[in-house]
């Protein structure tokens, strides 16, 4: 009996685990303190999506302040706060500079560290990776659980800081010293200052991702099913492997920086504080000095740049699974993609200081980082091109995941291409810290990465729940989101080139008075571009409205969605579709063996248009490297 046939009808019989002693875990150990990678993946997913929603909300408030700086927050936005909070942080209902800074810092932090990374690496990675390599679970299930809880703890600490007397962190998501070293200095017990809480939260998140990445890499190296050789790994797994290494090696220097900044704040040291520092309130600050603000930036961006690829690679991973399954042809350039992603991983460690051209590092260092930055665009383009060419000559099915994947390619393309001018330090002199930068990386992250994740949710939802998500609701979600994303982020590029600074809390309003003064050229420029703020803000709010169909879809499809016809509803080739739906504890109900590469669609020797990895070769076909069985323990 072929392995494929073995998986066909297990929905009809109870699947016991290998040992026969089957005991049903209780509610707490099944849903809350679960060690099953699939449940942990779902926990990560739900938590991360809630954080994304919260980060989105912070952004909506900020966009109000940018578009209508003189008007009080409308009732539909300010009901979230308590009266006391509003009285403390809003001025006559208007967003103040401090509050804007707070929201800006936390929007960035939440979106990056609490939203996108956990969603991509934690949720998709956890759910899909062990399934795709044919493993029973992660190598260290308890560590996996711990990793989720430490992440949640870090997230709650960060959110909790909103309600402290000091408010949350407000020095930007990059938390540069000396600004961040002094923020909340009036708080006597520094452990209770928002800025300190940010650091503590961050240390938790780093610990969590460290545990996670050790687990992922070990799992991928050691728990592959027999026959799952390196070049038979789905691209998804390759991307997760590289992401794991990036997290493992790039995060610790930020942890070092975080610890040093913590010591600066709590024990008044001067790691990042130079001698002779003056502040408006204190005059010459009585600290030892002798430290270096630039050191913090180096350590931060040593993480910060690989972090960009930690965000990005899981998105590529999702799209790389969706596209072959929906074009019914093998992925174009699988090997180039694998090598590309490895090169990308290596190069991402040597480009960090392109975030620091304006710090006065000197032209020699800038030139070096400019070269490496331009180099790294090569593997990125290889990945994107391979995905694009994979569409060529395919028989494309515009299923919900495919729509998102198709939108991902051009949107991410815009994000990537707008990055090129920033790589050159001369162009960056003009564009640094303007809305152009914001537009650039939001194109990468929002319509790029998040679109890929929406696609991923639609792609694996049938495996997780046994039901499809609604196509109609998806269209209602997709099209408005696509349009709004562009009307939101494209004007940022224009504004940025006009010189709009990224941290103006009133969207440039302060410069308008000068517009009336005819000699002030900058005021006139601001005048010409400021009305774009209203278009952008309205796009953001409308986009928020059209996320509701997605949320409804996500919940409603669980009970009302169309049931899947088989365990492999997309007729895909990778191993996760060989499991029962939903997969039970231990995942597979047959002895997994892999016989071929990951994307064998429309093979000439097959009577179907897909040949799953677990399907045995026909006896008359030449057997290529029949995997030798490896003894299990």
């Amino acid at each position: 009996m072929s392995a494929h046939a073995a998986t066909a009808d297990h929905s009809s019989h109870d699947h016991h685990d290998d040992h026969g002693h089957h005991h049903e875990p209780g509610f707490w150990s099944k849903y809350v303190f679960s060690t099953d990678h699939k449940m942990i993946g779902i926990q990560y997913g739900i938590t991360a999506m809630l954080f994304l929603l919260f980060g989105f909300y912070l952004m909506m408030v900020m966009r109000w302040s940018i578009a209508y700086p003189h008007e009080p927050l409308p009732g539909w936005m300010d009901w979230v706060f308590t009266d006391n909070w509003k009285a403390r942080w809003l001025q006559d209902g208007k967003v103040t500079g401090d509050t804007y800074n707070m929201f800006g810092a936390m929007h960035g932090t939440i979106m990056v560290f609490l939203g996108v990374v956990p969603l991509g690496f934690g949720a998709f990675g956890n759910y899909v990776t062990p399934l795709q390599i044919g493993a029973v679970d992660m190598a260290f299930p308890k560590l996996n659980m711990l990793s989720y809880w430490v992440y949640l703890l870090g997230g709650l600490i960060m959110i909790g800081s909103f309600f402290m007397e000091s408010g949350s962190a407000k020095s930007g998501w990059t938390n540069y010293s000396p600004l961040a070293g002094f923020a909340d200095g009036q708080i006597v017990n520094q452990w209770l200052a928002g800025q300190t809480q940010w650091l503590i939260g961050l240390v938790c998140l780093i610990t969590s991702s460290l545990l996670g990445s050790v687990n992922f890499v070990t799992t991928i190296i050691n728990l592959r099913a027999r026959g799952m050789t390196w070049m038979r790994l789905p691209f998804f797994v390759w991307a997760m492997l590289v992401t794991g290494f990036l997290l493992l090696l790039a995060f610790p220097p930020l942890e070092a920086a975080g610890i040093m900044q913590l010591v600066d704040r709590v024990f008044h040291s001067s790691f990042f504080l130079p001698s002779g520092l003056f502040t408006k309130s204190d005059g010459l600050v009585q600290i030892s000095g002798g430290g270096s603000p630039l050191l913090f930036q180096h350590l931060f961006w040593f993480l910060g740049h690989p972090e960009v690829y930690v965000l990005l690679l899981p998105a590529f991973a999702c799209v790389a699974e969706i596209i072959p399954a929906n074009t019914r042809r093998p992925m174009w350039g699988y090997k180039s993609m694998v090598y590309g992603v490895i090169v990308l991983g290596f190069l991402s460690f040597v480009v960090w200081a392109h975030h620091m051209y304006m710090t006065g590092m000197g032209p020699a260092i800038s030139t070096w980082f400019q070269i490496t930055t331009v180099l790294i665009s090569i593997p990125s383009v290889v990945l994107l091109t391979a995905l694009m060419i994979s569409l060529w000559g395919g028989s494309i099915r515009f299923t919900p995941p495919m729509i998102w994947a198709c939108a991902f390619i051009p949107m991410f393309g815009i994000g990537g291409l707008t990055g090129l001018p920033l790589a050159f330090n001369l162009a960056d002199l003009h564009l640094h810290d303007t809305y152009y930068v914001i537009g650039h990386f939001h194109y990468v992250v929002a319509p790029g990465i998040l679109f890929a994740f929406f696609g991923g949710v639609h792609h694996w939802y049938p495996k997780i729940t046994g039901r499809y998500m609604s196509k109609t609701l998806n269209h209602l979600h997709f099209w408005p989101t696509l349009i709004c994303m562009n009307t939101l982020f494209f004007p940022m590029l224009t504004q940025g080139m006009a010189g709009f600074h990224r941290r103006w809390y009133n969207g440039g309003d302060a410069y308008l008075a000068k517009a009336l003064d005819s000699a002030n050229v900058f005021g006139t420029t601001v005048r010409e571009h400021i009305d774009l703020n209203i278009l952008m803000s309205r796009s953001a709010w409308i986009m928020a409205l059209f996320q509701i169909p997605f949320i409804v879809n996500l919940i409603l499809s669980y009970v009302r969605g169309k049931k899947v016809e088989s365990d492999n509803p997309w007729n895909a080739t990778t191993l996760e579709w060989a499991t029962p739906t939903p997969p039970g504890h231990g995942n597979f109900t047959f002895d997994v063996a892999v016989y071929r590469g990951p994307y064998e669609y429309s093979q000439p020797d097959s009577d179907k248009d897909y040949t799953p990895q677990w399907e045995k070769p026909k006896t008359d076909a030449p057997v290529i490297a029949e995997p030798a069985p490896v003894a299990h323990h």
């Binding site: 003189h70 209902g93 190598a139 009036q186 190296i221 790691f271």
Partner: protein, 527 residues
């Protein structure tokens, strides 16, 4: 369901899961400590003050190095014992390993403790002084100990607290001190809280402040709501005006104002600060780190404003055990001034007889030292000596030098015992006479004062951060190894190979901890 390769290696990768995981974890740890080591290099190369070379007593660090190396060997023996299935041997070797960890942490604790009780002061002319402070007679903290002479004294007549920010322990401390001085702190002007009158003259208590705070927050919330509504109405009115169609917000903003007369009736009184009188004006003291002092008005970090004359608040050294002029020299060289002149112009040399004597003695010693060096290392072809005294020898007068001076021996020839190598000078034993000078420094000359903590300079900051983090690793490792020692018996009986695998993984971590220390010791103690 069972996870494969828990302790048996997989054939094609040749490793079991835990082995892969520990190497990955150690790679990550290398990056963490790599971050700190790079920071050390960066800070040291970029330091704009004389980096304290060889500032720490070498002996404890050296002993700790050997202790850790020894424990790295015993942990391997423990693993071998398990492989040979000798449980008793395993117990002995593992116990020795854990004991070494305890010795290491014990020495570390002593080192830290000495620093936390050692005062350092930087004067505004860059002279650095180290030693131990006087205790001020008759002034005690809340535990009843006399406070050290590094506090700010203010004759307070008025205190203004910030309603939302006041720091409870500080208020309690002020009340305590006033009680000791038989003074009263009372409310300056009457207040209304929830309709009830609080008369002026009510004594300061934390609960009174809390009541005022609660009342203030309620009024603040109310007022914010009223004003927000009024502003919203004003905008609605403005937008509806003829001629404003199609105008953007910024074009109308200057016309939009809250109609204060209309809402006056709805507003409640906010009390953002509360004034208290101190009668009679009395002397209170504040830790210098918490206060921004001024001649007639000072401010605490919680925004409490203190009205009153600042009294003499000198930093008083009981034993001055080091005078360091290296920073003075560095600054003088930057300005192109002769270093010796700059030193002789410092406040310390001009005003303190003992310090001047020590400086003169040190200069004589340099002549002697130069002779010795010339004798030992000879002259180069230009007739210049091959070796000269280091900056530290020339411009730092340490406690060994004070001791040598008192014993009338040459610099570097004094005798000190093992305990002194750990703990610093034994003052009573060494100094019946004035071996270590007494010194009073007026507050206005002090730029920075404190113990040897991370706040003292970036060297101590990175020293404490790195060694503390390393210490945490030692503790973590010791806990894991003790777990194998005390809880491993059962696993040894059922699956000795698995336990051996665990000990191997733990041992790898232990080697890493040892390795980190082998890097830390030279860069912090020797270089």
């Amino acid at each position: 369901m069972e996870i494969p390769y828990i302790f048996t290696p997989r054939k094609d990768t040749g490793m079991c899961n835990s082995k892969i995981a520990i190497w990955l974890f150690l790679a990550s740890e290398v990056m963490l400590f790599g971050g700190f080591f790079s920071s050390y290099v960066y800070l040291r190369l970029g330091a704009d003050y004389p980096w304290p070379e060889r500032a720490l007593p070498v002996m404890p660090g050296l002993i700790n190095t050997f202790v850790l190396i020894f424990s790295s060997v015993t942990v391997v023996f423990a693993w071998v014992s398990l492989k040979l299935r000798k449980w008793g041997m395993f117990q002995i070797y593992m116990a020795i390993t854990v004991l070494c960890a305890a010795i290491f942490m014990g020495l570390k604790a002593i080192e830290y403790n000495v620093k936390f009780h050692h005062q350092a002061v930087r004067l505004s002319d860059y002279t650095i002084l180290e030693g131990h402070l006087d205790h001020i007679e008759g002034i005690t903290d809340k535990k009843g100990h006399e406070v050290e002479a590094d506090v700010i004294h203010v004759k307070v007549n008025k205190l203004t607290f910030s309603t939302v920010r006041f720091h409870k322990p500080w208020v309690e401390e002020m009340i305590r001190q006033a009680e000791v001085n038989k003074a009263t702190i009372t409310l300056g002007s009457p207040l209304k809280i929830e309709g009830q009158e609080v008369p002026s003259g009510t004594a300061l208590t934390v609960s009174l402040l809390n009541q005022i705070k609660k009342n203030h927050l309620a009024s603040r919330s109310n007022n914010a709501e009223v004003r927000t509504e009024a502003l919203r109405d004003a905008w609605v009115t403005e937008k509806a005006k003829v001629g404003n169609e199609g105008k953007q917000g910024w074009q109308m903003a200057s016309n939009v104002n809250i109609d204060m007369d209309a809402i006056a009736g709805q507003l409640k009184v906010e009390t953002s600060s509360i004034v208290f009188q101190v009668t009679p004006p009395t002397e209170l003291w504040f830790p210098q780190r918490d206060i921004k002092e001024g001649a007639t008005q000072s401010k605490l970090r919680d925004d409490t404003v203190i009205d009153g004359e600042m009294l003499e608040s000198p930093v008083a050294f009981h034993n001055l055990d080091a005078i360091d002029f290296r920073y003075v020299v560095m600054k003088a060289e930057e300005k192109g001034i002769d270093p010796e002149k700059a030193i002789e112009n410092t406040w310390l040399i001009k005003n303190n007889e003992e310090a001047r004597e020590a400086w003169e003695w040190n200069k004589e010693q340099m002549v002697i030292l130069q002779e010795e060096l010339t004798k030992g290392y000879g002259l180069d072809k230009n007739g210049k000596p091959n070796r000269e005294p280091t900056l530290t020898e020339r411009y730092r007068i340490g406690w060994q030098d004070f001791a040598a001076k008192a014993e009338k021996v040459n610099k570097g020839h004094e005798a000190f015992n093992m305990k002194e190598q750990f703990m610093g000078p034994n003052y009573e034993h060494r100094a019946p006479a004035h071996t270590f000078p007494h010194l009073h420094i007026p507050r206005e000359l002090v730029f920075l004062s404190g113990k040897f903590t991370p706040a003292w300079n970036t060297y101590y900051a990175i020293y404490f951060t790195m060694t503390f983090l390393h210490g945490l690793h030692v503790i973590g490792g010791a806990i894991v190894l003790s777990y194998y020692l005390f809880r491993g018996k059962k696993m040894y009986q059922t699956n000795p190979e698995w336990l051996a695998n665990r000990v191997e993984v733990g041992g790898l971590f232990w080697h890493f901890v040892d390795l980190v220390w082998i890097f830390l010791f030279p860069i912090l103690y020797l270089m």
